[in-house]
Assembly symmetry: C2
Homo-oligomer: 227 residues x 2
Amino acid sequence: MTAFKTLNDLDLELMPRRQRGRLVNSLSGFKSANLIGTADDSGTLNLSIVSSVVHLGSDPALLGMVMRPPVDRERGSHTYWNIRETGCYTINHVPHTHTVQAHQVSARYLEGVSEFDEVGLTPVYRCGFQAPAVEESPVRIGLERVDEWEIPMNQCRFVVGQIRWVEFPETAWAQDGYLDLEALGVAALSSLDGYHTTKKQHRLAYAKPDVYPPESMEDFLSGWQDN
Amino acid sequence: MTAFKTLNDLDLELMPRRQRGRLVNSLSGFKSANLIGTADDSGTLNLSIVSSVVHLGSDPALLGMVMRPPVDRERGSHTYWNIRETGCYTINHVPHTHTVQAHQVSARYLEGVSEFDEVGLTPVYRCGFQAPAVEESPVRIGLERVDEWEIPMNQCRFVVGQIRWVEFPETAWAQDGYLDLEALGVAALSSLDGYHTTKKQHRLAYAKPDVYPPESMEDFLSGWQDN
């Protein structure tokens, strides 16, 4: 019998700040690790890492992300202010071969310092798009900011972007539209600092009430082998 | 030399709907798989699966999730209407031992049918909380709805909940606050239907500008062994 720990909202409120941060950041489950590439109007590059990118819709193709409450530009929030200034940014998936470099961009570098140079990642540009992408990333997405909300309880910002272009290795793209992130070596993140590789379990077919429970496992599979 | 495929917004717009859905759902990276437990005011249970839960803040502890544009209750959107009616819901992590059952709750069951019964998962209740949790889930969270936005471009809803209680096996909780989702067998999701197990790579220490590049890998590690 597994012993369960139960915490209520007051337990969470009274917990030391860093311990609470690591716990609550674990509670959404596994996450993506994404590098956000931006430039300011004078061409200074910036790179940051977020774990809050979420799919908002496919038509139009929208991705949202959560950003901390912005402070004055001299004090930080360079990604946020660059997006406000230029209207565009890139989202780049982190491969497990570059998790150390990607994590390091979260260090507090001064304004005017390019995290690309500091950590050793390579900016690449696409078709007149002002924001730099990351060459070492296998999935690179260019977005235009189309909306933004302030979260009233903590002043964080939720930035909505529409995908203007995307690029990825063609070999990883299945005919049905599925992009094989695992074959591309994309890392999964847990809490604030845990990096994981993945192992395929199965792809499951579109669920229908009348094929359950199954006569055979094949009714369920749309791809890969079941473990 | 890897051949990259580039698509722009028009390419995405012209793509067949299902193919585009699978691709764009891949583009946020690895995701969580979460079962949402609710009840209506007459006690009928509902369970749905989402891949859009995102951390919004730790103090107060907030999680957001994206829901499709609500339709009339007779036609569907039972989770959405139950949350509106009762103000509460649970988020339950999917273990890789139960991905088939979890995926099956996305089938279009009629109103009044409990997905718990249909797929074979067990409702559990906590301290007077109206929404049921999932006994087979290793991480169960009770939330109260505190805010909601409509995404103007597609009428989806972004529901914000505050954590009222959470429970998980105590053995998986590290002293620094980190909850070991991998030890709990929590699945990671890709696109709409890909389920993955994970393998630890490393936990990285809080990043500082002056310890990079490192003299040794130990400067970077806060936990586990590096691969």
